[in-house]
C-alpha cells in the first residue's frame, strides 16, 4: 500500500485516502474545435504508460479533496516527489538518464 505525501496536507498518508486520476500534464487543447479527429483522439485516449518514471495525477479524496501530481516509478512504485497542479516536476526521466541512475530494483517484468 503506497504512502503518499499530499503537498496540500503536508504529510504522508495511506493510499486508501487517494484516488489515482491518470497521467498528469495533459492539458485540454485550448481550441478543441480546431483539433482534427486524430488530435482529439490523441488527447482523449493515448497515453505514455511508461515503464519507469511517470508523472501522474492523484486526488486526495478522503483528505483535502485536492488534486496534485506525483512522480512515481512504475516498477518500484517509489514516489520521488509530489507537487501541486501548475508546478513542474523536479525529477524527470530525462534528468535521471543524464545522471545514469539505474532502474530501481524489483523489476520483475
Amino acid at each position: 500500500m503506497l504512502h503518499i505525501f499530499c503537498p496540500h496536507c503536508g504529510e504522508l498518508r495511506g493510499e486508501e485516502e487517494f484516488a489515482p486520476a491518470g497521467q498528469a500534464h495533459i492539458p485540454r487543447p485550448l481550441d478543441p474545435a480546431a483539433c482534427t479527429d486524430e488530435e482529439w483522439g490523441d488527447y482523449l485516449f493515448f497515453r505514455d504508460n511508461p515503464r519507469g518514471l511517470h508523472h501522474e495525477l492523484w486526488l486526495h479524496a478522503a483528505g483535502c479533496r485536492k488534486y496534485f501530481n506525483a512522480t512515481r516509478h512504475t516498477i518500484s512504485y517509489e514516489i520521488l516527489e509530489t507537487y501541486k497542479i501548475g508546478e513542474k516536476p523536479d525529477v524527470t526521466a530525462e534528468a535521471q538518464a543524464s545522471e545514469k541512475k539505474p532502474l530501481a530494483q524489483g523489476a520483475t517484468a
Binding site: L44, S76, Y77
Partner: protein
C-alpha cells in the same frame, strides 16, 4: 493412551495440566505447552496423513512453518472446521479434534495407496497434460474424479461463529522474529525510545533460543529471553505481538501481521468482559519507518531414497521436540548431515538417554567442536557418507549409509543398512528470505554459506541474524543489536551501548554442498527421492521436467508443482532448484529462486476481511425519512450506496399492484416521494455561470435568478454522463442537482476541471446533498395540498413552472422548486435535513384529505418514462450522445467556449446518422411488456446470428395509458417513426412493437405547467 514418547523430564510443557484431544477418532492426551504435532509424537502417532498423489504414508517432518505433511483438519463442530492446519504451529488445547485430510478408509490402511503404488508409475510430473484428451466429452468426468482426489482439507459447511478484526499500527521500527537477533534488535531500538513492534509467529518469544543447548552468560538461553522480555514490556513504546506472523511485506513499508488471539485457547474465541465475542484472529496493518527482518533460517532436509517414510525428520526438529516438548520421536537415531550445527541433535539425543546409531557426515574430515563432542561421547561418525536409502513402509526400520562422491554424484561404497527408527537429516540452512523478497527483490546466492540471503532491497529494511547469513549465535545477537540500533538511528533515535550476553566459544567448520544424495541407480530408477513432500515432487520428476525442456526455475515449479503447496516450498524449494540446476549443468545462482509472494504462511479469509462483512460490508446510506419509510413498509432498492424506497406495498399488494396504485394516485391526486438522495452541489462565485456553460452541454448565460433549468453533462468524448436541474439562487450562486449514483462523481468532475484546467475561474463547489432533504409532492392536487402548509404564494403566475421560491413549509424554512419529473404539477420541497422528518410527517398528515400517497422509485420511473424523461445509466450507457437521445435541444451549439463534450460529439462516428437513437416503443399487444434489456431486430424471421438494431432500455405497464409501453434505442430510430421492431425473447416468443415518440403522456407538457 499413554504418552509413550514423552520424556520424563524437561521441556517447556506443564505435565500437571494434561489436555485431551482426538486424532482420527482416537482419544489422546498431551500437555499444556504442547503443539498438536508434539502431542501426536508424544503419543507415538507415526502416520499423520497420506501423500497427495501417491497416497504414501507420511509423518511429521518438521517443527515449524516448513512442515509439509502434518496438515490436518481440525474442529469439533461443523461450523468450527479449519482445513489444513499445520500441526506444528497449532497449540494443543483441551478438546481439540483433528483428523487427516487424506487417506481412505483410514490413513493407516489406505486403499488409494495401492492405487498410488500401481498407478504412481503412470503419474510422472505433468502426466495429466498428456492424457484424458479422448474423447473430449469425457474430460469433465475424469475431472470430477481428479478433483475428488485432490485438495487437502475441507471447508466448513456452516457459517463461522468467530469474528476477526483489524488494527492499524504505526511504528518506527518493526522487528520481525523474536529469536536472538530479533530480541537484540528490539532491545536496541526499544531502548532508544523509538516506537517498536516485535512480532513472532511462535507460541512464545525466543526462536531458536527456546530449544538451544547453547548457553548465554553461562546460563540457560531462555533466562536471557525472559530478562529481555521483561525489559521490553517495561518500555511504553514497545508493543509485543506473540502468535503473530508477519505474512506480507507490501509497498512503502506496509506490512500485515496475522495474529492468532485465540487459536490456542479452544474451538472458538472466548467472550470478553462485556460478554461479546472476542476476535479469534486479528490482522495488524502496519506502517513501519524501518523494518528489521530477523526471521531466522529453515533447515533443509537431504534428498535420499524413501526419505518420506514416517520417521524421517529434520535434525533441528528432532532437537525441538526433545528439548522444547520433551518428546523423543524414536529410540534409535541415524543422523545425516553436511554441517556441524546438526550435531547438536545427536548430543541432545544422547542427553535424553537415547541411542545414536551413527552420524553420516558427507564431509571427509569434520573437526568442529560439536563433532568432537559427539565423538567424545562415543557417537559413531561415518565421514564421507550419507544416508542413501531408507527401509520401512509405515515407519523407518533401517537406513542405508554409504560412502558417496557428492560432486560426481556417485555412491562409492556398498554401504550398510543400519537399524534405526528415526533418520534425521540436515542439508544446511536456508535463510527465511520470504519477506525480504515479497516486493520483487531477488535473493542472492552465497556459495560460502550454501544459502540464498536477502538481495538488495529498495524498501527501508535491514536484516539481522540467520536470515542475513549470520548463523553463529553470538554473531546473530550482535547483528540484531546493530540492526535495531541502526534502524532507530535512521529515524532519529539514539541508542545506548550494547551489553550482550556472552556465548560459548566453539569451532564451527563450513558445511559441504549436498542436496540430492546420489544413489547407485539413475534418479529415475532409484527409490523415490522426495523433494516437495506435500506435492509428491521427486528428484526424478524434476529431472524429467528439465529433460522435457522446462529450464526456467519457474517452469520447473509450474510443471512439477514444486513449492505450490501450503508450505510454499519452505522445505523443498532450494533442494529442488539445486537438482534442476545440476541436471541443466548450471549453477544454483544462475538457476535462481522462484518468486516469493505473500503469504508467508496461510491467512484466514475472515482475518483479511476483518469486520467489513455482514452488516458492515459496505456503508448503507439513508435519508432523514428512513425511519418513516421503515415504519410504513417500504421495499428498498439499492442505488449506489443508498437504500431508497422502491415502492410502498399495502397488505396483499405485489409490486405491480402497488406501483399501479401509486401511479394512479400521482396522475389523479397527489403523491409524495423522498428525493433526498439526489446529489446537490452548492456553487458560488462570480464565474459560476461561466463554469456551468463549460461543463453542461446547454447554455446558462441567461438563466435568471429564481429560475431553474435542466442540464446534460457529457464527458469529453461527447457521451452523456449525468443530468439534473440547476437553479440560479442568486447571480453568483447556483444549486446543481445530480443523479443519485452520480453525485460524488460529478463533484469530483467539477473539481477536476476547476483545479487542473480552469483555476482562474472564481467559483467554489460544496456538496450539500446531506444538508438538504427533498420531498416531492406531485400530482394535480399538489398545489392544493402544499398550500395548506406553506406561506409561499403558489399561484401559477407568482410561482411558475421551472422556478423556485423560499418560504415556510410546515413551519420550516424551505426552498421549493417547481420542477417535475413525473409530468404532473410538482413541488420539490427542500428543507434542512434535521427538520425533514417533521415536515414529511406534517405533509403526510395534511395530505390525508387528499389521499396523499407515498411512492417509490419504481413509480417515479414509470411516470417519468410515460413522459419520455431519461434516466442516465438506464436509458444511456457510455455510448450515447445527446443527439442519440433526441435531446439536441439541450446542446448549446453556439456557445462561444468549446464546452466539454462538444468536440467529442463531432467525431466521424458520433456524427453518423444511423446511430442508435432513443425512441418510444409501443407493443402491438397492449398487454405485453417488453423485458428491459431485450434486443430488437427489424426482421424476426432471420436466422441466427441476427442483426440486432437496438434494445429496450425502459419498459412498463402503464396504469395511466392502459397499455404497456417502452423506450429503447434503435438504429436510425428517429427517422423510423411508425415502423415496427421485434424483440425475440428467450422463450421463443416475439414481441412486436411500433416505433413511436418517446413521450407517451401529455406531449405538450400541459399538466406540469398548470
Amino acid at each position: 493412551m499413554s504418552q509413550k514418547n514423552r520424556l520424563p523430564r524437561g521441556g517447556r510443557i506443564d505435565r500437571t495440566r494434561p489436555l485431551d484431544f482426538t486424532f482420527n477418532g482416537q482419544r489422546y492426551q498431551g500437555c499444556d505447552g504442547d503443539s498438536l504435532a508434539s502431542a501426536l509424537l508424544a503419543n507415538g502417532v507415526d502416520i499423520i496423513g497420506r501423500s497427495f498423489k501417491y497416497s504414501r504414508p507420511r509423518g511429521i517432518v518438521a517443527a515449524g512453518a516448513e512442515e509439509p505433511n502434518a496438515v490436518l483438519q481440525i474442529g469439533a463442530s461443523e461450523a468450527t472446521q479449519i482445513p489444513n492446519v499445520r500441526a506444528t504451529q497449532q497449540a494443543l488445547y483441551d478438546g481439540l479434534v483433528a483428523s487427516s485430510t487424506n487417506g481412505w478408509p483410514s490413513v493407516d490402511t489406505d486403499l488409494m495407496g495401492i492405487l498410488g503404488r500401481v498407478g504412481g508409475k503412470l503419474m510422472p510430473a505433468g502426466f495429466y497434460y498428456k492424457t484424458f484428451m479422448y474423447p473430449s466429452s469425457l474430460w469433465m468426468t475424469y475431472e470430477k474424479y481428479i478433483r475428488k482426489a485432490a485438495g487437502l482439507g475441507r471447508a466448513p459447511l456452516e457459517n463461522d461463529p468467530d469474528i476477526y478484526d483489524h488494527m492499524n499500527l504505526h511504528c518506527d521500527v518493526l522487528v520481525v522474529g523474536a529469536g536472538p537477533a530479533g530480541l537484540a534488535a528490539a532491545l536496541a531500538a526499544g531502548r532508544s525510545g523509538a516506537r517498536v513492534i516485535l512480532a513472532d509467529e511462535g507460541e512464545a518469544f525466543g526462536g531458536s533460543l527456546l530449544d538451544t543447548r547453547e548457553t548465554l552468560d553461562g546460563k540457560r538461553a531462555t533466562d536471557w529471553v525472559d530478562q529481555v522480555l521483561a525489559e521490553l514490556q517495561s518500555l511504553p513504546e514497545v508493543t509485543l505481538l506473540p502468535r503473530a506472523t508477519v505474512n506480507g511485506y507490501h509497498d512503502h513499508n506496509f506490512l500485515t501481521i496475522h495474529q492468532r488471539l485465540a487459536d490456542h485457547l479452544g474451538e472458538t474465541a472466548p467472550r470478553g468482559a462485556f460478554a461479546q465475542q472476542l476476535p479469534r484472529q486479528r490482522m495488524h496493518r502496519v506502517r513501519a519507518g524501518r523494518v528489521v527482518l530477523a526471521t531466522g533460517a529453515h533447515e533443509r532436509p537431504l534428498v535420499y531414497g524413501n526419505n518420506d517414510v514416517p520417521g524421517n525428520m529434520l535434525a533441528g526438529a528432532v532437537t525441538t521436540y526433545l528439548r522444547r516438548y520433551a518428546v523423543a520421536p524414536g529410540k534409535k537415531l541415524v543422523l545425516a548431515t553436511n554441517n556441524d550445527y546438526a550435531y547438536r541433535t545427536a548430543l541432545d539425543w544422547l542427553d535424553a538417554g537415547l541411542q545414536v546409531v551413527a552420524v553420516a557426515d558427507v564431509r571427509h574430515n569434520p573437526r568442529g567442536s560439536w563433532v568432537e563432542d559427539a565423538r567424545a561421547r562415543g557417537v559413531r561418525v561415518l565421514t564421507g557418507c550419507s544416508v542413501i536409502d531408507v527401509r520401512g513402509s509405515k515407519r523407518v526400520e533401517a537406513a542405508r549409509v554409504a560412502a558417496i562422491d557428492a560432486v560426481a554424484m556417485k555412491v562409492t561404497s556398498p554401504g550398510e543398512w543400519l537399524e534405526c527408527d528415526l533418520v534425521a537429516s540436515s542439508g544446511g540452512y536456508s535463510p527465511v528470505v520470504h519477506l525480504a523478497s515479497h516486493l520483487g527483490g531477488r535473493p542472492a546466492w552465497r556459495e560460502d554459506l550454501l544459502a540464498f540471503v536477502p538481495g538488495e532491497g529498495f524498501q527501508k529494511r535491514l536484516c539481522a541474524g540467520a536470515v542475513n547469513g549470520v548463523f553463529n549465535l553470538g554473531d546473530a545477537l550482535a547483528d540484531g543489536f546493530e540492526a535495531g540500533a541502526t534502524a532507530a538511528a535512521q529515524i532519529g533515535f539514539k541508542h545506548g551501548a550494547s551489553e550482550l550476553p556472552r556465548t560459548e566459544k566453539r569451532v564451527e567448520e563450513p558445511s559441504f554442498p549436498l542436496f540430492q544424495v546420489p544413489h547407485e541407480k539413475p534418479t529415475a530408477r532409484a527409490p523415490k527421492q522426495f523433494v516437495d513432500l506435500q506435492n509428491d515432487v521427486t528428484a526424478a520428476g524434476i529431472e524429467q521436467a528439465t529433460r522435457e525442456g522446462f529450464e526456467s526455475v519457474e517452469h520447473v515449479k509450474r510443471y512439477t508443482a514444486l513449492g505450490f503447496g501450503t508450505d510454499q516450498g519452505k522445505l523443498g524449494n532450494i533442494n529442488g532448484l539445486a537438482i534442476a540446476a545440476r541436471s541443466l549443468g548450471i549453477g544454483i545462482a544462475e538457476m535462481g529462486t522462484t518468486m516469493f509472494r505473500p503469504n508467508y504462511t496461510p491467512v484466514t479469509f475472515g482475518a483479511v476481511a476483518g469486520r467489513h462483512c455482514d452488516g458492515l460490508f459496505e456503508p448503507a446510506r439513508y435519508t432523514a425519512m428512513q425511519a418513516w419509510h421503515l415504519r410504513n413498509g417500504a421495499e428498498f432498492e439499492d442505488v449506489g450506496q443508498w437504500k431508497r424506497p422502491w415502492y410502498f406495498p399495502r397488505p396483499g399488494e405485489d409490486i405491480h399492484a402497488a406501483v399501479a396504485r401509486e401511479c394512479r394516485a400521482v396522475r389523479s391526486g397527489v403523491g409524495i416521494l423522498d428525493a433526498s438522495t439526489l446529489g446537490k452541489i452548492d456553487i458560488q462565485g462570480p464565474d459560476a455561470r461561466e463554469f456551468l456553460n463549460r461543463i453542461y452541454t446547454n447554455a446558462w448565460t441567461k438563466l435568471d435568478v429564481g429560475k431553474a433549468r435542466y442540464g446534460l453533462m457529457c464527458k469529453e468524448d461527447g457521451m452523456v454522463f449525468d443530468d439534473g436541474v440547476t437553479a440560479c439562487l442568486a447571480d453568483n450562486h447556483f444549486l446543481m442537482t445530480t443523479t443519485t449514483g452520480g453525485a460524488a462523481r460529478v463533484l469530483q468532475w467539477l473539481e477536476l476541471y476547476h483545479q487542473t484546467e480552469w483555476p482562474e475561474l472564481k467559483v467554489y463547489f460544496t456538496s450539500v446533498t446531506d444538508h438538504w432533504a427533498t420531498m416531492t409532492l406531485s400530482g394535480p392536487r399538489s398545489r392544493e395540498l402544499l398550500s395548506q402548509v406553506t406561506d409561499i404564494d403558489l399561484d401559477r403566475d407568482a410561482f411558475p413552472f421551472m422556478s423556485w421560491k423560499e418560504g415556510l413549509v410546515g413551519g420550516v424554512p424551505a426552498r421549493v422548486f417547481r420542477i417535475s419529473f413525473t409530468g404532473e404539477l410538482s413541488y420539490e420541497v427542500n428543507v434542512q435535513a434535521d427538520y425533514a422528518l417533521g415536515v414529511w410527517e406534517q405533509l403526510i398528515e395534511a395530505g390525508k384529505p387528499y389521499d396523499l400517497t407515498p411512492y417509490g422509485t419504481e413509480t417515479m420511473h414509470v411516470l417519468r418514462a410515460e413522459k419520455g424523461f431519461i434516466i442516465v445509466g438506464q436509458d444511456t450507457d457510455a455510448s450515447v450522445t445527446p443527439d442519440d437521445l433526441n435531446m439536441g435541444w439541450a446542446v448549446g451549439r453556439n456557445k462561444p467556449f468549446s464546452w466539454i463534450g462538444w468536440r467529442g460529439m463531432n467525431r466521424a462516428d458520433t456524427l453518423r446518422e444511423d446511430r442508435k437513437q432513443l425512441v418510444g416503443l409501443k407493443p402491438v399487444d397492449p398487454q405485453k411488456v417488453l423485458p428491459e434489456g431485450a434486443q430488437l431486430v427489424f426482421d424476426p424471421e432471420q436466422s441466427i446470428p441476427m442483426t440486432m438494431v437496438g434494445h429496450v432500455t425502459s419498459s412498463y405497464m402503464s396504469a395511466t395509458l392502459g397499455h404497456s409501453f417502452a423506450m429503447g434505442v434503435v438504429k436510425g430510430g428517429l427517422k423510423r417513426m411508425g415502423e415496427r421492431v421485434f424483440a425475440p425473447l428467450v422463450d421463443g416468443s416475439v414481441i412486436e412493437a411500433e416505433i413511436v415518440s418517446s413521450v407517451f403522456y401529455d406531449p405538450k407538457g400541459e399538466r406540469q405547467n398548470v
